[in-house]
């Protein structure tokens, strides 16, 4: 289904100690759409991304105000099981970070953590996830080799497969292609395009062209605030605010 609301942030403030990193963020994320978060370093885009699956909980002196909804559920509600939340909201990081295990075990990891032992089910999920991540054909003959022997681009697709194995609904991507060569980047971008048919995708990127290519909606952040949100094609051809224009055309500062 198109245009159905999957996640939203409402009046979200975030603090690292005394430093306020996010100011009153209101943003909606829709199913089957890719939302890109752009802005200069330190603008809060990665902080917001990490708020969406409570990765920031790991930082002891941090504090959250406001609400984040996944469907109808408020994810900062004390009753929420954070591990379950992260199964619904998966994450892929900037640098590929496979575990020092086999390709198979990397993808099966999340399922095993969730207590699944059925071998045929595991094998099936691993195969499906690797296919979804467009990696299956390259690794099907060596599933039990170490994941560390894969190229950077393959490792990143492996991490995407690992994130998808637990069948999340939302996929958070923090500069997923910034450490990859152009060909591997292209594969990741094509993958994002395919994956949005099944997932809600939120991507942080410093690469403006990448944001323009892969996303449907783009939000421009500056100093912890959302400056402008619009359809990607509109934001990159005729942004409404001068600040946005200055940033995307490189006239910033």
């Amino acid at each position: 289904m198109q245009d159905s609301l999957k996640m939203s942030a409402e009046d979200l403030n975030f603090y690292y100690g005394n430093f306020q990193a996010l100011h009153g963020i209101n943003l909606e994320f829709y199913e089957n759409q890719v939302t890109a978060l752009i802005g200069p370093s330190g603008c809060g885009k990665s902080t917001l991304l990490r708020c969406l699956n409570r990765m920031n909980d790991l930082i002891s002196y941090s504090r959250v105000e406001g609400k984040v909804f996944l469907d109808d559920e408020e994810i900062y509600d004390p009753d929420v099981d954070v591990v379950a939340l992260r199964r619904h909201v998966g994450m892929v990081f900037q640098k590929p970070n496979p575990f020092p295990k086999t390709i198979f075990e990397n993808v099966a990891y999340g399922l095993r953590v969730n207590g699944i032992k059925d071998k045929s089910f595991l094998a099936e999920r691993v195969e499906t996830s690797l296919k979804q991540a467009a990696l299956w054909d390259e690794v099907k003959e060596r599933l039990h080799d170490s994941a560390l022997g894969l190229s950077g681009g393959q490792q990143q697709r492996l991490c995407i497969a690992r994130a998808m194995a637990v069948e999340p609904e939302v996929l958070l991507m923090d500069e997923p292609a910034s450490a990859l060569d152009p060909l591997a980047t292209q594969k990741i971008e094509e993958l994002i395009h395919d994956l949005k048919k099944r997932y809600t995708i939120i991507i942080v990127t410093h690469n403006m062209q990448q944001a323009a290519r892969v996303s449907d909606i783009t939000a421009f952040f500056y100093l912890g605030e959302i400056i402008e949100v619009d359809k990607t094609e509109t934001l990159f051809t005729r942004p409404k605010l001068e600040q946005t224009s200055d940033y995307i055309t490189g006239r910033f500062g």
């Binding site: 051809t237 005729r238 224009s245 995307i248 055309t249 490189g250």
Partner: protein, 225 residues
């Protein structure tokens, strides 16, 4: 990297303006050749068109290079898009000046036919539209560009008027039909120059405002001007 792009865009701006000046000069000379029925000047215009054509090709290559190397966004992207189109219009303006020159070469030295019509008014309007559209480009002046769009209707009206008057004269002097068709075509070419000026103005409006004004009748009402 981005400063590099700004330098490239400045170069493009200078270049499109010099192309505009060349096209303007061709039109000015064509009108002069027509008013003085100067066959030599007409030949000079025809020969000089090659220079404008070469400049147009270079300009387009420059724009493609910038798109490929810098992948500009927002105002920069709209600027390059506008320049590519304006470049094309200016080249066509040059062609229309050549067309006028060819008509002038045809009628130069032949006994003139009296047509109850003042061509200079039309020529002045077309020339002024071209000049204003280029001024609007230099100064990113959407208001001036809107005025150019409005003037186009006046030139169209004059062109229709000339058509009627020439038809009348052909009836009275059918033996001079060849000469009169040349006059009619000159009017048509001047009207086309005004059309290209309008296109340029529309590109300037898009560049400045981000909305494509073509085929939108509502914005050209005098109230808004």
């Amino acid at each position: 990297m981005k400063k590099h792009l700004q330098r490239e865009l400045e170069k493009v701006k200078k270049r499109i303006l010099s192309l505009g000046a060349m096209a303007e000069e061709s039109v000015r000379m064509a009108i002069q050749a027509f008013e003085t029925k100067d066959g030599d000047l007409a030949m000079k215009i025809i020969e000089s068109d090659r220079e404008l054509n070469e400049a147009e090709v270079e300009m387009e290559e420059e724009c493609l290079k910038i798109l490929a190397l810098h992948q500009p966004f927002a105002i920069d992207l709209r600027f390059i898009n506008a320049v590519i189109k304006i470049n094309n219009d200016l080249e066509r303006v040059g062609d229309e000046a050549v067309n006028i020159a060819e008509r002038v070469a045809n009628i130069a030295g032949k006994p003139p036919v009296e047509v109850p019509f003042e061509y200079s008014v039309m020529a002045e309007k077309s020339e002024a539209m071209l000049r204003s559209s280029l001024d609007a480009l230099v100064n990113l002046d959407a208001d001036l560009a809107y005025k150019v769009c409005l003037l186009d209707d006046e030139v169209d009206e004059i062109n229709r008027d000339i058509y009627d008057k020439i038809k009348e004269v052909i009836r009275r002097q059918p033996e001079r039909v060849g000469y009169l068709i040349n006059l009619l075509l000159i009017s048509r070419h001047l009207e086309r120059i005004a059309d290209h000026a309008t296109n340029i103005a529309e590109e300037v409006i898009y560049m400045v405002e981000g909305e494509i004004p073509r085929h939108r009748n509502d914005i050209f009402k005098p109230d808004d001007a």
